[in-house]
């Protein structure tokens, strides 16, 4: 076998290996990009969920309930005094 042939075969092998390797990394890259896109979507979804949770948390009206509780406690004291006084 001559040198050129061997070189050509090696080149062909390299080309084949490069094609398969490139294809492999291409597919990997595409998959990674897809995953990245999915992760972004998930992150965005998480942000939205966090926002929703914060909104829901702020809509729980805990302050209003605290005020109501305070009012009811005062009312209870007055009622107890009134009961005792009867």
């Amino acid at each position: 076998m001559d040198k050129e042939k061997i070189i050509n075969i090696a080149l062909i092998v390299v080309i084949i290996a490069a094609i398969f390797g490139g294809r492999y990394y291409y597919s990997q890259s595409t998959e990674a990009n897809s995953s990245i896109e999915n992760v972004h979507k998930k992150i965005e979804q998480n942000h939205k969920e966090i926002s929703d949770l914060k909104s829901k948390t702020s809509n729980l009206n805990i302050r209003q309930l605290s005020v109501e509780k305070s009012r009811l406690e005062k009312q209870q004291e007055q009622l107890k005094k009134q009961l005792e006084s009867i």
Binding site: L11, Y25, A32, I36, L53, N61, L65, E68
Partner: protein, 283 residues
């Protein structure tokens, strides 16, 4: 051919290398975003935990609020019940007090009625006794009064009788006295009118006789001797007739004077007799 093959080899190697680096970048980016995802997941977990904690807190507060509401409602119910109980107790006490007052009033009324009945009985008995006593006293007083009336009537009768007899005595005395005076006036023949009579001797005699006869009548009357009075009266009438006849009937007054004298003498006798009788009754 060789050059083309070499170019293809170079190009494929370049493409393969570029893919490799691209893949490497994608892997790096993927790790990065996965880390971000992990962080965001952690944040979501925190937010979720925070939300759950807030929800628990809200639930706890809501439970407390509900419990407070229920307690307050129970307290209001207790207050209403206590007020109602108090008002009912007050009403019951008022009813009891009214009933007790009514009972006491009824007892007082019964006691008063009993007392009034007893007082009435006592009063009736007392009245009856007083009436009986009054009746007895009245009877005694009536009897006494009747006795006194009878006594008074007897006294009055006796008094009247005494008065009457006294009066009659006085009257008799007065009659006797006036008759005596009357007869004394007729001692001289006052009514005689001599006229044209001539026999003065006889007339004087008759006048003296008149005087004597009147004196006899007076004496007989004062002595109460009716016989002598009768005789003296006859003589006096005869004397009066004599005087009248001597004057020719012009001295009729002598007759009436004689009648007056005789009447007075009889009056003296009757009055004296009555006076004696009255004196006898008075003793």
């Amino acid at each position: 051919m060789d050059a083309l093959l070499k170019l293809a080899a170079v190009l494929t190697l370049l493409w393969g290398g570029w893919m490799y680096f691209k893949n490497s970048d994608s892997e790096t980016e993927l790790r990065k975003v996965r880390n971000e995802l992990k962080v965001s997941k952690g944040e979501v977990g925190e937010a979720q935990a925070s939300y759950e904690a807030e929800v628990k807190k809200r639930d706890a507060l809501a439970e407390e609020v509900n419990a407070l509401k229920e307690q307050n409602q129970q307290l209001e119910k207790d207050i209403r019940a206590k007020i109602k109980e108090k008002s009912e107790r007050a009403a019951q006490e008022r009813r009891d007090r009214l009933a007790a007052e009514e009972e006491a009033r009824e007892e007082r009324r019964k006691a008063r009625e009993a007392e009034l009945a007893k007082a009435k009985e006592e009063r009736d008995a007392k009245w009856k006794q007083e009436e009986e006593e009054e009746r007895k006293r009245q009877e005694e007083e009536d009897a006494k009064q009747e006795e006194e009336d009878a006594k008074y009537a007897a006294e009055r009768a006796a008094e009247r009788e005494r008065s009457a007899s006294q009066w009659q005595s006085e009257e008799c005395k007065q009659k006797i006295k006036s008759a005596n005076v009357k007869m004394q006036r007729y001692l001289s023949c006052r009514a005689y009118d001599p006229g044209d009579v001539q026999d003065y001797g006889r007339i004087d005699l008759l006048k003296k006789k008149w005087t004597l006869n009147v004196q006899a009548c007076l004496k007989a009357a004062n002595d109460g001797n009716r016989k002598k009075l009768k005789a003296a009266s006859k003589a006096l009438r005869d004397t009066a007739n004599g005087l009248n006849s001597m004057s020719g009937g012009k001295n009729a007054g002598c007759l009436s004077d004689a009648a007056e004298v005789i009447e007075a003498a009889e009056t003296i006798i009757d009055a004296t007799k009555q006076l004696k009788k009255l004196n006898l009754q008075g003793r």
